[in-house]
C-alpha cells in the first residue's frame, strides 16, 4: 500500500464517527471595519503604511515622473530596476540608469542594483498592505526583494480597498502574490519589532491620483 493510500485510509477511519453534510460557513464577520468615504480610505492607507515605517508620498499623475526622479536622487540611486511593463513615462525624468529585468539575471546581479520601481495590484487600507501579483508592471517576485530600496506606485483611489476580504476578492490565486506591509522586520529579539532584515529595508509608497482627486485630498 502506498503512503498516500495509508494516510487517506487512516483519515477515513479516524472520521468514522463524523456524518452528514458540510454545514455552510456563516460569515457573520464584517466585510470592512468602519464606514469611510473614498478619501478617508486612502487617508487610512497612508496612515497605516506610515505606522509600519513605509515612507508615503502623494502626487498627481502629471507630477509622478518628477516625484520618482526626486526620490531616486534623494536616495542616491545610480541604478534602478524596471519591470517590463512599467509605464515608460514614469521614469522619463529619472537620472538613475534604468536596468530592465531579464529572465537570465542572477540574484547576485540584482543585489548590485540600488532601487526598484513597480506598480501594484491592490492596496489594503485597514492593514497598510500593498499586494504585488507579478503583472508586467510589477515584474518577477525577486526584483522587489533583492534590491534594498523599493518604490511602489499605487493609483488612488482605484487600486485601494478597505479590507483584507475586499483585497482577496480582487486577486487571482493562480498568480504568485507578495503582500507587503512595511519594510522587512523581525520580532525575534525579545519579541520587539525591529525594521530591516532581508527584504528591502526602505519601502517608499507613492499614492498617485489624477489631478481632480489629488486636489480633493490635499
Amino acid at each position: 500500500m502506498s503512503s498516500r493510500e495509508r494516510i487517506l485510509g487512516r483519515v477515513r477511519r479516524a472520521l468514522s464517527d463524523v456524518s452528514g453534510e458540510d454545514a455552510p460557513i456563516e460569515r457573520t464577520y464584517l466585510r470592512e471595519h468602519g464606514d469611510r468615504t473614498v478619501e478617508e480610505t486612502v487617508e487610512l492607507l497612508a496612515e497605516n503604511l506610515a505606522d509600519y515605517r513605509a515612507i508615503v508620498h502623494r502626487c498627481t499623475t502629471a507630477d509622478l515622473p518628477a516625484t520618482l526622479a526626486g526620490m531616486l536622487a534623494a536616495r542616491g540611486a545610480k541604478t534602478v530596476l524596471v519591470p517590463p511593463g512599467l509605464d515608460p513615462s514614469w521614469l522619463t525624468e529619472a537620472g538613475a540608469d534604468q536596468v530592465p529585468d531579464r529572465a537570465g539575471s542572477t540574484p547576485h546581479e540584482l543585489d548590485r542594483i540600488d532601487s526598484v520601481v513597480t506598480a501594484c495590484a491592490v492596496a489594503i487600507a485597514e492593514t497598510g498592505t500593498i499586494v504585488l501579483d507579478g503583472s508586467p508592471d510589477q515584474g518577477r517576485r525577486r526584483i522587489t526583494l533583492v534590491p534594498d530600496h523599493h518604490i511602489c506606485v499605487v493609483r488612488v483611489p482605484d487600486q485601494v480597498v478597505s479590507s483584507v476580504p475586499q483585497g482577496l476578492e480582487r486577486l487571482d490565486p493562480v498568480r504568485p502574490l507578495t503582500w507587503i506591509s512595511g519594510p522587512s522586520a523581525t520580532s525575534d529579539i525579545e519579541l520587539d519589532r525591529v525594521e530591516g532584515v532581508h527584504g528591502p529595508r526602505t519601502l517608499e509608497v507613492v499614492l498617485v491620483a489624477d489631478q481632480a482627486s489629488a486636489e480633493v485630498n490635499s
Partner: protein, 495 residues
C-alpha cells in the same frame, strides 16, 4: 547541529530546573509581557474579533470533518498547477523523501524558511546525516542553530535568549557557518538584525534548493501560503530553482475566500500586528518567476491518530500563532524547553502527547503542565478548548483506554504513577455508595480532627507538600442538618 528532545525528563523535573534560572525567567517575563499588551491592542482594533474567531474555528472544523476529500482535492490542484505531491506517513518517510529530492538536484546545501513541521520531524539532522547542510534563515532559528540550542517558542524559537546572549552567540559562532559577525558588534537589536542580514545574504544568493513549510494550503486552488516578517521566507521561496515544502495534512483550508479570516486573525494573534510584513502565496510553479520545480510533501506523523480522538482532534485546528504560549502563566515561568517538544506551551501540552502518544515520561506528564486557568482558550484565534483537551488527556493517562496509534486501535494501560490515586477514588466510590459507612467515617473524622496531620504520609506526601489539607468540621453536615431540622431550629436561623 541543534540539540534534540529525545529522552527528555518529565515536565515537573525540567520545569523545576528552569524556574531556578533567573536569566531565563527574566527573558521570558520581558518578552511575554511585551507581546501580551500589544496583542490585546491589535485584537481590540477589530470590532468583529469574536465573529472572526468563530468563523476560523468553523472553517478548520469543516476541513477536518472531510479531510480525506480536501487532501485529494489539494493534490489535484497542486499537480494541475505544475507541482509534485508526495505523501509521508511519518517523520522517517518525510525525511527520506526530502533527502532524496535534494540529492536529485546534486546540491549539498539548502536554505530553510522557519517551519514547525520540519522541526518536528528532525529534518536538519536527517539531511546532515546525508551530507547536506541546512541553513536556517529565520533570525530566531539562526540564533538557535548557531547556539547549538533547542527552540523554546513556536514563533520566536530563541525567546529564551536576550540581546546580550544573542550578540555573544553571533560573535562566537557565525564564522563557523560562513560570514563572521561584524567587528565590534553591539547588542542593539538593529545591529543584530543587520549582522544576520549580512551573514545570510551570500547563502540566499547562491541557494539552489529552498525548503519551507506553509501556514495554509488552499484545497480548491492548490495555493500555498507563507506568512513571515523578515523576507527570509521570500528569499527561500523565490530565489532557488527547487522548492520543497513539508506541510502537515491539517494545514488545509477549503477555499481561497477562507484566507480572509486567517489573514486577519493570525498576524494579530502572533506578532500583534495588523499585518505581518510579508505574505507569499504560490500556486504550483510560474514561468520565469520563482522555482521551476515545486515539491509538496504532505505529512501525517500522528495527525490522523489525533483526528481519531473526538475530543482531542480540535488541536488540529491550530494555526501556530503562539498566543497561548504568551499568555500562559506556566509557560512564562517554566520556559519552552521543559515541554520536551518543538511544540511548547499550552498547545504543545495537548499536541505532543497526541502526535507522539503518551508512552514516554515527558508525554505522559504534559497534560499536567497547566493550571487549567483557561487564558489559552480565551486568546486562541480558532477557539481550541485547551483545558478541555488537557483534562481529557489526563483521564487517558490515568485510566488508559482505547486510542489510535499509527492507524491502529490499541488499548492503553493505566499509567503506573497513578495507582494510589485510582485506589483512593475506588475507595471513595465504595464509601459514597454506602450512606451508613459514610456517616460512620465522617463522625470518626470529626471526633479525631485534632489528631489529623498537616500533611499526608506515604504516597500522599508529594500531593500535600504544596497544598493544605482541608479542615474537617466539628460536626458532619448531615448530622447538623438532622439535629437542627435543616437549620430551622438553630438559633439565629440558617441565614
Amino acid at each position: 547541529m541543534s540539540g534534540t528532545f529525545v529522552g527528555m525528563p518529565a515536565f515537573p523535573k525540567a520545569a523545576h530546573e528552569a524556574v531556578g534560572n533567573p536569566t531565563l525567567r527574566g527573558n521570558l517575563r520581558h518578552a511575554t509581557h511585551t507581546i501580551r499588551a500589544k496583542r490585546e491592542k491589535a485584537v481590540a482594533e477589530v470590532s468583529d474579533w469574536a465573529e472572526l474567531r468563530e468563523a476560523g474555528k468553523r472553517i478548520k472544523d469543516r476541513t477536518l470533518r472531510r479531510l480525506d476529500h480536501y487532501l485529494v482535492q489539494l493534490e489535484e490542484s497542486v499537480v494541475a498547477a505544475g507541482g509534485t505531491v508526495h505523501w509521508a506517513a511519518d517523520a522517517d518517510e518525510a525525511n527520506e523523501i526530502v533527502t532524496q529530492l535534494v540529492q536529485m538536484t546534486g546540491e549539498t546545501e539548502v536554505v530553510k524558511v522557519k517551519s514547525m513541521a520540519t522541526q518536528e520531524i528532525g529534518l536538519n539532522e536527517a539531511l546532515e546525516a546525508a551530507g547536506i547542510r541546512a541553513y536556517e534563515t529565520d533570525l530566531a532559528e539562526l540564533i538557535v542553530q548557531l547556539g547549538k540550542d533547542r527552540p523554546s517558542h513556536i514563533l520566536v524559537p530563541a525567546i529564551h535568549r536576550n540581546r546580550g546572549e544573542i550578540r555573544d552567540i553571533f560573535e562566537r559562532e557565525m564564522s563557523e557557518w560562513g560570514r563572521p559577525a561584524p567587528e565590534g558588534l553591539t547588542d542593539t537589536p538593529a545591529e543584530l538584525a543587520e549582522a544576520a542580514r549580512l551573514h545570510l545574504r551570500e547563502k540566499f544568493l547562491r541557494a539552489k534548493v529552498g525548503i519551507s513549510g506553509a501556514n495554509f494550503m488552499v484545497a480548491d486552488t492548490g495555493t500555498l501560503v507563507v506568512v513571515e516578517s523578515e523576507g527570509n521566507g521570500r528569499m527561500c521561496l523565490t530565489l532557488p530553482e527547487t522548492l520543497i515544502s513539508v506541510v502537515g495534512i491539517e494545514k488545509i483550508v477549503p477555499t481561497w475566500q477562507d484566507l480572509e479570516v486567517f489573514l486577519q486573525t493570525l498576524p494579530r494573534s502572533s506578532t500583534a500586528e495588523r499585518m505581518n510584513p510579508y505574505t507569499s502565496t504560490w500556486t504550483g510553479t510560474t514561468d520565469e518567476d520563482g522555482p521551476s520545480t515545486f515539491h509538496l510533501v504532505l505529512l501525517d506523523n500522528g495527525r490522523s491518530d489525533t483526528l481519531a480522538d473526538e475530543v482531542g482532534r480540535q488541536a488540529l485546528r491550530c494555526i501556530r500563532c503562539s498566543a497561548c504560549l504568551n499568555v500562559c502563566p506556566v509557560y512564562e515561568r517554566a520556559g519552552g524547553h521543559a515541554y520536551g517538544s518543538v511544540y511548547p506551551g499550552p498547545i504543545g501540552a495537548i499536541l505532543s502527547p497526541q502526535l507522539r502518544g503518551t508512552e514516554s515520561e515527558i508525554d505522559a506528564s504534559l497534560p499536567y503542565a497547566s493550571s487549567l486557568c483557561g487564558a489559552c482558550y480565551e486568546v486562541c484565534p480558532v477557539a481550541i478548548d485547551i483545558p478541555e483537551v488537557l483534562v481529557h488527556l489526563r483521564e487517558r493517562v490515568v485510566q488508559g483506554g482505547p486510542v489510535v496509534r499509527e492507524g491502529n486501535k490499541v488499548v492503553l494501560k493505566p499509567a503506573k504513577g497513578h495507582a494510589a490515586e485510582r485506589a483512593a477514588m475506588r475507595a471513595a466510590r465504595w464509601t459514597f455508595a454506602r450512606p451508613g459507612v459514610l456517616r460512620t467515617g465522617q463522625r470518626a473524622a470529626s471526633r479525631t480532627r485534632r489528631l489529623h496531620p498537616r500533611s499526608l504520609p506515604g504516597p500522599g506526601k508529594a500531593w500535600s507538600g504544596t497544598r493544605d489539607l482541608p479542615a474537617v468540621p466539628a460536626e458532619p453536615f448531615r448530622d447538623w442538618w438532622q439535629r437542627t431540622d435543616g437549620g430551622r431550629s438553630e438559633k439565629g436561623g440558617s441565614k
